[in-house]
Amino acid sequence: MNLPAGVEPDPGAALLVLYDTALPQVYGYLLSRCGQRALAEDLTAEVFLAAVEAVRRRPPPDVSTAWLVGVARHKLVDHWRRAEREQRGLRVVQGLPAEPDDPWDERLDAMIAQQVLAELGPHHRGALVLRYLDGLPVPEVARLLGRTVHATEALLVRARKAFRETYERSEGRDV
């Protein structure tokens, strides 16, 4: 049931009010995860346009900064998925068997870690960002990636291995 137009709070106006405070949060989240300014801008625009779509629904969802960052995370996952699909077309897929995780005792250098993440394939990078930068539990990562928990754990094992190999190479190169 709709109230008369003048009485109903306008969720579109509320979104514009929220825009100034939410924009740096959404952009900051995306920039720190994808590391590319142009891409972060594109994804930020996608997030707010999705919010416009959402407030068109009757009744609209409760749009907050946290809600927008949640949408941003989904946009990032979609981006990695697209990137992965494109890359998969270019190379022969080699299914690495899931190996037991090799414990690694190392204090990670944050700067090198960022570079290493940028060098990884989209699926490895996505899994590591959600699990470690965002600090999400594995089942939540699985839900976001549309995989089972078991498949996500296996993916994380491979992603950590890929990260470690690249990291150790980078360290040797840079230190």
């Binding site: 049931m1 709709n2 137009a5 306008d10 579109g12 106006a13 979104l15 514009l16 825009y19 924009l23 740096p24 949060q25 952009y27 900051g28 989240y29 920039l31 720190s32 300014r37 972060a40 801008e41 930020t44 625009a45 707010f48 346009l49 999705a50 416009v52 779509e53 959402a54 407030v55 068109r56 629904r57 009757r58 009744p59 609209p60 969802p61 409760d62 960052v69 949640g70 949408v71 989904h74 996952v77 979609d78 414990p103 690694w104 005792d105 190392e106 204090r107 990670l108 944050a110 870690a113 590591l128 699990r131 470690y132 930068l133 965002d134 600090g135 976001l144 549309g146 950590r160 990260f163």
Partner: protein, 293 residues
């Protein structure tokens, strides 16, 4: 031993984007928001609606959450339903589709060659579990994909009827309305009602009580009505979902259908209201209904 990866944890920090980008994006949002602000004002008639006041309720597992008209020519369909029901459409977007504005039940249109039916998408609690049940019940289901509004899987039932199941990120209240242009009743037509009862009972938790016509069933959910109210009708040549759109004046509605190039029976009084059976100018069947509010 501590996990070195834990050092990567990085709570989001605010970063001011380029001011030009920020201003451009704000202008775009303002434009998009302004464009959609008028549907209430341009509704064909708002003076004597038949809407039934009801408390908003959260859509339940098994309710219809979204419908889309799948027709060869979307532009033609948009014109037809605008003339008949007064629909307005969200600006922009993919030219192959339309989004009807201001309806309680999300209603879209999508261009699909050879298709002349309504496509219904049902709300479920767990889309991955629903996909398993579809497959176990003899249907087909695509792997769920993530969209801005939730996670969705496109499915086909065991009698060839295409539908969708989706799970939303957060609950939002559902609205029930019988204003002009709203869907007030859906008929799921199938060749075999018993098979459909087994399939949708398993997939969506639908329950069925005998209806008014032979092989007709009223669909129930947790002892109440499915939203919108839905019936199952067996013994039909082919599977289809046929909507009933609410109109305030059934005679005028029938006249508009005919004037817009569609066909319609003369209005008939039924136990639940006055209805007419119609087809649009591309052959999509639907009903018009004037139901007591």
């Amino acid at each position: 031993m501590s996990d070195p990866f834990e050092a990567l944890l990085r709570p989001p920090e605010a970063v001011d984007p380029d001011p030009t980008f920020a201003a451009r994006l704000r202008a775009r949002l303002e434009r998009e928001l302004l464009d959609h602000r008028d549907p209430r004002g341009t509704r064909m008639s708002t003076s004597s609606t038949t809407s039934t006041p009801s408390a908003p309720a959260v859509p339940r597992h098994g309710d219809v959450g979204y419908v889309s008209l799948r027709v060869p020519d979307v532009g033609r369909a948009a014109d037809f339903y605008q003339a008949v029901l007064g629909w307005r459409y969200a600006p922009g977007g993919d030219p192959r589709g339309r989004q009807v504005q201001g309806l309680a039940l999300n209603h879209g249109m999508w261009a699909e060659e050879g298709s002349r039916t309504l496509w219904a998408c049902y709300r479920v609690d767990d889309v991955h579990a629903a996909v398993r049940r579809v497959r176990e019940a003899g249907g087909r289901a695509e792997e769920p994909s993530r969209e801005p509004y939730g996670t969705i899987s496109t499915c086909v039932d065991d009698q060839g009827l295409s539908f969708g199941v989706y799970e939303v990120f957060g609950d939002r209240p559902a609205e029930v309305s019988s204003r002009q242009g709203e869907i007030v009743y859906l008929t799921v037509e199938v060749p075999d009602a018993d098979r459909a009862r087994a399939f949708y009972g398993s997939v969506l938790g639908w329950e069925f009580v005998p209806g008014n016509v032979d092989q007709g069933w009223r669909v129930r959910l947790g002892g109440g009505e499915v939203r919108p109210m839905t019936g199952l009708w067996g013994g039909r040549d082919r599977a289809a979902v046929v909507p009933m759109y609410s109109v305030e004046d059934i005679d005028a509605g029938v006249a508009r259908v005919r004037a817009a190039g569609g066909t319609s029976t003369d209005p008939e009084r039924q136990p639940y209201g006055v209805t007419a059976e119609c087809a649009d100018d591309q052959g999509v069947r639907f009903y018009l209904g004037r139901l007591p509010g």
